[in-house]
Symmetry: C2
Subunit: 273 residues, 2 copies
């Protein structure tokens, strides 16, 4: 163990595996592209959010390459929400990649505090970040090669087209973001978030950026699994994680629902390959 | 007390004062445009963050119309960071407007959870939000007339120009945001964040949007107080709060530093008026 590991600094180990390498390797080893979202929305579960999420993790871990807890729902629980979130992340214990869905973004020194909160206080492996404040705000999250930063590019919601598709210099804003993200990817740890509800956007982003894509919006939000996979895989047939939250969590049998979606993703991957 | 007040739902009281009205009224009554930032960055204070911030509040309250705690620094403290943040907000007890600087933004249902965390769990009066996900993500924060949402428009950092100044249809992105924010302001509770480090942007935003402006970036970040005030005041000589964090907190006499900046802002306001 190095001194850096002992003092817990993320990414300080010289033998660090870049986030992107870990993601593709885990996805190959585990044979799945599925990320299971952990969104403890009020009224959708019994008992504590931490217990609910740990049960969901245990039920779906065979089907998942990653878990994506959404910070908002833990923050809304009350003042002990962060503690419950930390317990969920500890339970996963880096056996699967934890992508903290926090959509953080602030000016340099403040962004560094958010990165510390995500990677050190909570122990997440990756985090979602907003591009609006530019490169210096994202840089705070990309300093550690073995921690990932998924930059919001084209989101899955209806309002995505309010700003993200504004044309500038013949290209929509979200493709400017994709190109910038490529520049920000000095250490092999930057990815992009592109919603499954806009398959053309996934396709367009894949043309300009050879970065891992995190694709939410299949299932409850209406995105098509086959299209997302076809559009999102990189040239090596990798570089893609597809998230499902509600469809799995609210199924009567989350394990079965997760395995079915894993298989559906893999079938689409074989057809695409 | 109405039932809505008893159960603590923000904005549910029919006699609600819209956020913007409260901001201008408080600013007039207290004779100040100053917002004091509460950024407990590690290594800049002794004791707990909550105690540090409460001392800073007590020292500067005579000079301030608002306080702006920055969520990032509390989240980075550890798992009890939110509790410390809540204690600071309770200490202010709505005697001054609390603008939670959180820069949140997510899709509809998730944004609603962030709004609940900011307004109900933490008890903030207003929050900063990101525009990148569009109108449906901002709407979750603007449902309560008496709670404010300051939308990031042109931020104070160098990276602001990576995306915010991209031209679309003859106008930079940040002015599209300003125009959208006007549309989102159905209840009189939407504002914009424009950094003092870009006085031309403050001026341009003021031309297109008659909304309250939150202007960070004076002092340590280099923005000029006089220019910010001249460019930022609305036609009635109101609609502006200017934030200072480090310059006040790290002064040997925060009270004195806050009163001096208040007076400087008021002098600039008189010159502008």
């Amino acid at each position: 163990m190095t001194a850096a590991e002992r003092d817990g600094s993320p990414g300080a180990n010289a033998a660090t595996v870049p986030f992107r390498v870990r993601l593709d390797r885990d996805s190959d080893d585990l044979g799945t592209l599925l990320c299971v979202g952990l969104d403890p929305a009020p009224g959708t579960f019994e008992g504590s959010a931490a217990d609910h999420c740990r049960r969901l993790v245990d039920a779906t871990i065979d089907a998942a390459v990653a878990f994506k807890p959404n910070s908002a729902f833990f923050e809304a629980i009350g003042l002990d929400g962060m503690e419950q979130l930390a317990r969920v992340i500890q339970h996963i214990d880096d056996e699967r990649i934890v992508i903290l869905d926090a959509k953080r973004g602030d000016i340099g020194s403040t962004a560094a505090a958010y990165a510390r909160a995500a990677f050190e206080v909570l122990g997440a492996r990756a985090v979602t970040v907003s591009p609006y404040l530019g490169g210096d705000s994202v840089a705070a999250f990309t300093r550690f090669a073995d921690r990932g930063a998924f930059v919001l590019c084209h989101t899955s919601n209806p309002g995505a087209t309010d700003l993200q598709t504004l044309e500038s210099g013949g290209e929509p804003l979200y493709l400017h973001v994709a190109r910038r993200a490529r520049e920000w990817d000095a250490l092999g740890n930057v990815g992009l978030v592109v919603g499954a509800t806009y398959p053309d956007a996934i396709h367009a982003v894949r043309q300009v950026a050879d970065l891992p894509l995190l694709v939410p919006g299949v299932g409850a939000q209406g995105g098509d699994v086959g299209e997302a996979v076809r559009a999102g895989l990189d040239a090596s047939g990798r570089g893609l994680v597809v998230n499902s939250s509600r469809e799995i969590a609210r199924s009567s049998d989350p394990r079965e629902a997760a395995l079915r979606l894993r298989d559906e993703l893999n079938a689409a991957r074989r057809r695409a390959g």
